[in-house]
């Protein structure tokens, strides 16, 4: 439509606001309360314009109408703006020079108006008296500098969907408030920092984490990706190159996160600059043999000398090592590993890569193990995470990746969140879930733990731990009985339906309800909500996968989606939420003992031949051992040498007492990492590696989005790039590797796959690309996969019915509680990174075990007590937290804390298909600590 602004006729698109139309035409209208990402509210009134009515209209909310004549800058309007600025300035802290935002970022929008209108609030008596709130670890709140623009409120409500901030008081005494007006640090705020990111004044400003905050234009902006979880948020690091330091991080526009970040991404990057970074290669001193744990924590001794919490005590561990040159260290590694290979055979060697490493590093590492070591004994933490999901997916639909993105929930009629604590583990994805719920997607949460996302659910079912199969079978029974399934989809696109129907017929809600501890009618209600939705997505997490029946759990969820025709269309699909930033990519790159890159079987002669010719070496025809199997083999002595790049199995693997014995038993262990880890205590050689912040590489997120992470820091000391170290070891072991850059490695990897075949560093663009991508030059890639056929032999998906079986170690009189383990929002896995970040460690400094208050009182235990948690494998002492988030009869422990390692207690039994260990069900007892 045509409208006239300040005498200029311009074209405005239907529905555009005057502010947008003016902006598109290059006409600047000053505004304070508006942010393009937020619903406009028109409260600052600075953007008022004359549309020929009695009342001036706020340009940010008023929509264009055909023929509208708008004046944006008459002298009257400018005078109004000057008075508004004067009014606001008179309430600002008097010292504008000291304004936190201006000093930190140089972008205080109110001060910009003050300069524009030369209005400094001096004509009015000064305001004053609204206090500072310094209770948050990440944000300084200065109520006096707040102009009540509501940006923070809307950012918290509309972007992060946390709804912590509101207004309190009214009229002139209005203030922003957290929850029911408690200090920010005591509120339910999750420290995501979105409010500070949108605040236009000095009211909400980040606290400096590294060096003092500085304006953007004094720093170098490096576009990268968050190093933490599988959501893979796009962000920009603002870097002081001279001081080799990150100054702050900011969310970046991308389909995956739309500028949103969580507390880890925004504030948790300073680990890379921690003084404990390894700077030189280390070789174990002769007098530090026989090998064993070096620190008291790892030995399981507690002398009370060290304060609780913390990280590996360098003073205890470092004396066992001496510094070495790279040449000496690499020669030693190559010689010892070659000796074992030549003496005991290739299968006496094994390697753990890491889902924290890039696709390029993962590809090279598995190539090293397969082509240079000559074994398929290569695995990584996917084994501890979604191995069971991938096994079920490959078997059921022929592909291990997600069939749609998490953002597709916006199109879903219903979404099932099964065993996933998304607000903690995929915080930014959770914001999209909550947003979809507000727009009408029915949210179904099934979890023994009533986590924060359950508060947003239309249906929440608290099933007993370990009863998932019974629950989902009953859902399917109801869907079949009430004919809510998609007959056409079942007939045209699936096989083995009858077997499923026969099996689930044995799971009427009455029977399943008794197993799961859920009312039968609740199961029916959930089945109807899911079955009658036009489209539905199933999301799941470790609550499904980390069980000895994890593959069966996943089979049920896959069957549920197939039964209701919910794969291959918008708003429908299967989405196992990936944990690590690159667990998808590391798996795609072949860091798995059974498959080469792109899930090509090592047991298929034709495929093996392809890789043999690509790599120029004869390859082992036998699938290798998985993570826990490697530990068992080390204990038995059949695996003698290991190369561990960026993993910390001592804390991450189940039954770590056994892992400790296994690691001590190795003839030779080389650990390549950025810090001394619990695992490195058992090493013969420790190689100082590059952190995420120091290297170039690609990372594939849970959506299959391949994105580029870029170097922002120089490496400390003599630390080296991981891919170069792998090349050097390989070359020294007689298998030369020589690459000019990560992009060359990527090309070699991509050329051996279908999924990545069209991708290269050059065409990934600013926000990456989804695989598979037929036309990456022009297209972002397919959100929804398998709209006409599945990548199986006959193109059909397969129902794989699963019987419910009870957990392996049920509670009894001696060990009456079920132990569940998992993560916290503020921490990452074994804490090696997050416990070395100032903010995250400050917010969550301490290990705890969580228990239902009724179980606490039944056992005479109170919140905050020191308790001992014991299983048949070990015991730990830590703080008790009573919370109704836990169900009766079960306790929960986070896995991040070495001083109270949950995995001392867990069971190292494996799922027969996924080989994933049972992290989420073992029997324990809890008693007051002596």
């Amino acid at each position: 439509m045509r409208i006239t602004i300040d005498g200029r006729e311009i074209e405005a698109r239907e529905g555009a606001t005057i502010f947008d139309a003016a902006g598109a035409a290059g006409i600047d209208i000053p505004v304070l309360c508006h942010d393009p990402r937020l619903d406009p509210v028109g409260v600052c009134r600075l953007c008022v314009v004359d549309v020929g009515e009695r009342v001036l209209a706020a340009a940010c909310v008023r929509r264009c109408e055909p023929g509208m004549e708008v004046r944006t800058n008459t002298s009257d309007i400018e005078a109004d703006r000057a008075v508004l600025t004067e009014l606001l300035m008179s309430e600002q802290p008097a010292d504008h020079e000291a304004d936190r935002r201006e000093r930190a970022f140089g972008d205080n929008a109110l001060l910009a108006c003050a300069r524009r209108y030369d209005a400094w609030g001096d004509s009015l008596p000064r305001g004053g008296g609204r206090a500072d709130d310094t209770s948050s670890s990440v944000i300084h709140v200065d109520h006096q500098a707040c102009i009540l623009c509501d940006r923070c409120i809307r950012a918290c409500d509309e972007l992060q969907n946390n709804e912590v901030i509101g207004r309190t008081g009214k009229g002139h005494d209005s203030r922003i408030a957290f929850d029911l007006d408690v200090p920010m640090g005591q509120s339910t705020c999750v420290s995501c920092g979105e409010c500070a990111a949108v605040c236009p004044t000095g009211a909400l400003v980040d606290v400096a984490i590294g060096p003092e905050l500085r304006p953007r234009d004094e720093l170098e902006a490096v576009d990268s990706v968050c190093p933490y979880c599988g959501v893979g948020c796009a962000l920009t690091y603002h870097v002081d190159r001279e001081r080799n330091a990150i100054v702050f991080a900011e969310g970046r526009e991308s389909p995956g996160n739309r500028q949103r970040l969580c507390v880890k991404g925004r504030y948790g990057w300073d680990y890379a600059a921690h003084p404990q970074r390894l700077r030189v290669p280390l070789i174990r001193r002769d007098d530090a043999y026989p090998k064993g744990a070096l620190s008291k924590d790892v030995r399981g001794e507690h002398d009370g000398r060290r304060k609780p919490g913390g990280i590996v005590d360098y003073d205890e561990v470092l004396p066992a090592f001496r510094e070495a040159t790279w040449d000496e260290a690499l020669d030693l590694v190559a010689e010892r590993l070659s000796t074992i290979r030549d003496r005991d055979g290739p299968d006496a060697l094994a390697g753990f890569g890491s889902a924290k490493c890039s696709n390029e590093e993962a590809y090279l590492f598995q190539k090293l193990v397969r082509a240079c070591f000559g074994t398929n004994n290569v695995d990584h933490c996917t084994r501890l995470c979604h191995a069971s999901s991938v096994a079920a997916l490959l078997e059921g639909i022929g592909s291990g990746a997600v069939t749609t993105t998490y953002g597709d929930i916006a199109n879903a009629g219903a979404a099932l969140l099964a065993g996933t604590n998304t607000t903690a583990n995929h915080p930014v994805a959770a914001t999209f879930f909550k947003e979809a719920r507000k727009r009408g997607t029915k949210l179904i949460v099934v979890d023994p733990r009533r986590e924060a996302i359950a508060e947003h659910a239309d249906h929440y079912c608290r099933i007993k731990p370990g009863t998932d199969v019974a629950f989902y079978n009953a859902m399917m029974q109801v869907i079949i009985e009430e004919e809510l399934g998609d007959r056409a989809f079942i007939e045209e696109r699936t096989e083995n339906y009858d077997a499923l129907a026969t099996l689930v017929a044995d799971y009427p809600p009455e029977r399943a309800g008794a197993i799961c501890g859920v009312e039968p009618d609740d199961i029916r209600a959930v089945a109807r909500a899911f079955g009658s939705a036009d489209s539905a997505i199933v999301f799941w997490g470790m609550g499904i996968s980390q069980h000895v029946y994890g593959t069966n759990n996943a089979r049920c969820l896959i069957a549920l989606a197939l039964l209701t025709g919910n794969i291959g269309k918008a708003g429908a699909g299967l989405h196992p939420l990936r944990g690590q930033n690159n667990v998808q990519g590391a798996s795609d790159a072949g860091l798995i003992p059974m498959v080469y890159p792109d899930y090509q079987s090592v047991e298929d002669p034709a495929i093996r031949e392809k890789f043999e010719s690509a790599w120029g070496r004869e390859l082992s025809p036998q699938r290798g051992l998985t993570v826990v199997e490697i530990a068992h083999a080390a204990l038995e002595g059949s695996v003698k040498g290991m190369y561990i790049m960026g993993e910390n199995p001592f804390l991450s693997d189940p039954n770590v007492n056994k892992v400790r014995k296994a690691l001590s038993n190795l003839d030779f262990l080389v650990v390549q990492d950025i810090f001394l880890t619990e695992t490195a205590e058992f090493a013969d050689v420790i190689l100082p590696a590059s952190s995420y912040m120091e290297k170039l590489g690609t990372y594939t997120n849970t959506d299959r989005r391949v994105q580029i992470g870029r170097p922002v820091l120089e490496m400390p000391g003599e630390a080296r790039l991981d891919w170069e170290v792998v090349c050097d070891v390989s070359t020294r072991m007689g298998f030369p590797m020589d690459y000019a850059s990560p992009s060359e490695i990527f090309d070699e990897f991509a050329g051996l796959t279908n999924a990545y075949a069209t991708l290269s560093h050059d065409n990934l663009g600013a926000v990456g690309k989804l695989w598979p991508n037929p036309d990456p030059e022009r297209d972002d890639g397919p959100v929804v996969l398998f709209d006409d056929a599945f990548p199986t032999e006959n193109g059909r998906a397969k129902f794989v019915p699963a019987e419910w079986t009870a957990a392996r170690e049920l509670p009894d009189d001696d060990y009456p509680f079920v132990l569940n383990t998992g993560r916290l929002l503020e921490h990452w896995h074994t804490g090696v990174m997050t416990r070395r970040t100032r903010v995250l460690d400050a917010i969550a400094p301490e290990a705890f075990v969580a228990m239902h208050p009724d179980d606490g009182s039944a056992n005479g235990l109170s919140d905050g007590d020191n308790v001992t948690v014991e299983s048949r494998r070990g015991s730990v002492t830590l703080r008790l937290r009573l919370t109704t988030r836990e169900c009766r009869g079960a306790v929960f422990m986070p896995i991040h804390f070495r001083e109270a390692a949950a995995n001392l207690l867990t069971l190292d039994e494996l799922d027969p298909d996924g080989k994933i260990p049972e992290f989420k069900f073992c029997a324990v007892r809890v008693s007051a600590a002596g």
């Binding site: 304070l32 509210v41 028109g42 409260v43 600052c44 009134r45 600075l46 008022v48 009695r54 009342v55 001036l56 706020a58 909310v61 008023r62 929509r63 005078a79 109004d80 008075v83 508004l84 009014l87 606001l88 008179s90 309430e91 004509s123 009015l124 008596p125 305001g127 102009i147 009540l148 509501d150 207004r167 008081g169 009214k170 009229g171 002139h172 005494d173 209005s174």
Partner: protein, 431 residues
């Protein structure tokens, strides 16, 4: 028994009789005949045309033509339409709706039924300010009676028209009397006025087309239906027909509520109906229509009390709440009281309202305290001018006008305070 002086009245004609508040008593006086007539003999469009023709102006303050407002409602709609009765009477100086609610709840319900039929509303929400506990009880009782007798519900008065009435009590914020602030509050949200457009007739309560009318406005409707537009136009002025309820308070001998034709001179109301100034003192100024309307000085009381004539004097009829102040009154102190009210009651959304009301009050207080400076009067006028006509709702205007009125007519009081460095009338005080 309530004493209600009435001169030319129909709304309050039977207010002396308690029985008029009951359904039986109301019907005995001819009540619900108009509703029967409208619902069974008239088409909805005819009702709207009749009310348009009567020239009935909204009695909530803005004085908009009622029939015209009804005609903004979409005639064909596949979503429910709502009617809202604004009984959040919070304007200081106004108490007419309270008496109407207390004495004649069925008169209100009958007006609501006719209006609902005219605009095709399925439900009316009566939003009553929280402090009006007794009036709300009366309305709830009347609603129950009406349901019992089939005057409300699935088949109103046997006409086949379905209508429900929901009584909703407010929680004590002035801004919930603003129609969109009321709608927010009705929906359970914080009472903050909405951005317009869209207007309530398009997107109102719970997102549905909605008309909001004042209590008194509804009460006039049955009489118009019964007696015709011409009869109605027999009261009042050409532009402002009908009677209205003037509530007189302040320094008068007989404060109270008076139903009089629009256009009655202010002096007649003050000096005849309200008995003149108490204690034989002289009048100094009169606020003609509730606290947000600019004050008139003693010399201008000849003004006829109708919107068209009051506008010529720079003020408005508002809610008809007349506040009379005698010669002992300190007009700066009046400014302090008024500005304190608005400072406290602003919802705080728009900058100039939230900040402006605060600064107006601070500066008023400073002058009253004796600490005012000569430039303060200019600052007051500057701020007030910039609060007008720019905000989401008219609250900021309502906060600015009284200040402008006081300075227009009583500037000397302000200058005297500044010159003396103290209040010449009373001991200094501060709210």
């Amino acid at each position: 028994m309530l004493k209600v002086p009435h001169v030319t009245s129909y709304l309050t004609e039977h207010f002396a009789e308690d029985a008029f508040g009951t359904l039986a008593g109301y019907e005995k006086k001819g009540g619900y005949a108009a509703a029967r007539k409208a619902l069974t003999e008239m088409a909805p469009g005819d009702v709207i045309e009749l009310v348009k023709a009567s020239g009935l102006q909204g009695r909530g303050g803005a004085g908009f033509n009622t029939g015209l407002k009804w005609s903004f409602m979409p005639a064909d709609s596949d979503v429910p339409k709502y009617l809202v009765c604004n009984a959040d009477e919070s304007e200081p100086g106004s108490f007419k709706d309270r008496i109407l609610l207390e004495r004649s709840p069925h008169q209100l319900l009958e007006g609501i039924l006719i209006a609902a039929y005219a605009v095709g509303a399925c439900t009316t929400f009566i939003y009553i300010r929280g402090e009006y506990s007794f009036p709300a009880d009366q309305v709830e009782r009347a609603v129950a009676e009406a349901y019992d007798q089939g005057h409300l519900g699935p088949n109103v008065l046997g006409s086949g028209f379905r209508h429900d009435v929901v009584v909703h009590r407010g929680a004590g914020a002035y801004i919930c009397g603003e129609e969109t602030g009321l709608l927010e509050s009705l929906e359970g949200k914080k009472g903050q006025p909405r951005k317009k457009p869209p207007f309530p007739a398009q997107v109102g309560a719970f997102g549905m087309p909605t008309t909001v009318n004042n209590v008194e406005t509804f009460c006039h409707v049955p009489y118009i239906v019964n007696r015709g537009a011409e009869w109605f136009r027999g009261f009042g002025t050409e532009a402002s027909p009908g009677t209205t309820l003037f509530g007189v308070s302040g320094h008068v001998v007989k404060p109270g509520l008076f139903e009089l034709p629009l256009g009655t001179p202010l002096s007649e109301i003050v000096f005849e109906h309200a008995g003149g100034i108490a204690g034989g003192r002289k009048v100094k100024g009169v606020i003609p229509g509730g606290m947000s309307m600019p004050i008139l000085p003693a010399g201008q009381l000849d003004v006829p009390m109708a919107n068209e004539s009051l506008r010529e004097r720079g003020t408005m009829l508002g809610t008809g709440g007349i506040m009379v102040m005698d010669e002992t009154t300190c007009m700066v102190r009046v400014g302090c009281v008024i500005s304190y009210f608005f400072r406290d009651e602003s919802c705080g959304q728009c900058t100039q309202c939230r900040e402006g009301t605060g600064w107006l009050n601070k500066i008023m207080n400073r002058i009253e305290r004796g600490a005012g400076q000569s430039e303060d009067l200019g600052v007051l006028l500057d701020i007030a001018a910039k609060m007008e006509g720019q905000t989401i709702c008219a609250f900021a205007d309502a906060a600015a006008w009284p200040v402008q009125g006081l300075l227009r007519h009583f500037r000397a009081d302000f200058e005297e305070h500044v010159r003396l460095g103290r209040c010449p009338f009373t001991a200094s005080f501060e709210l």
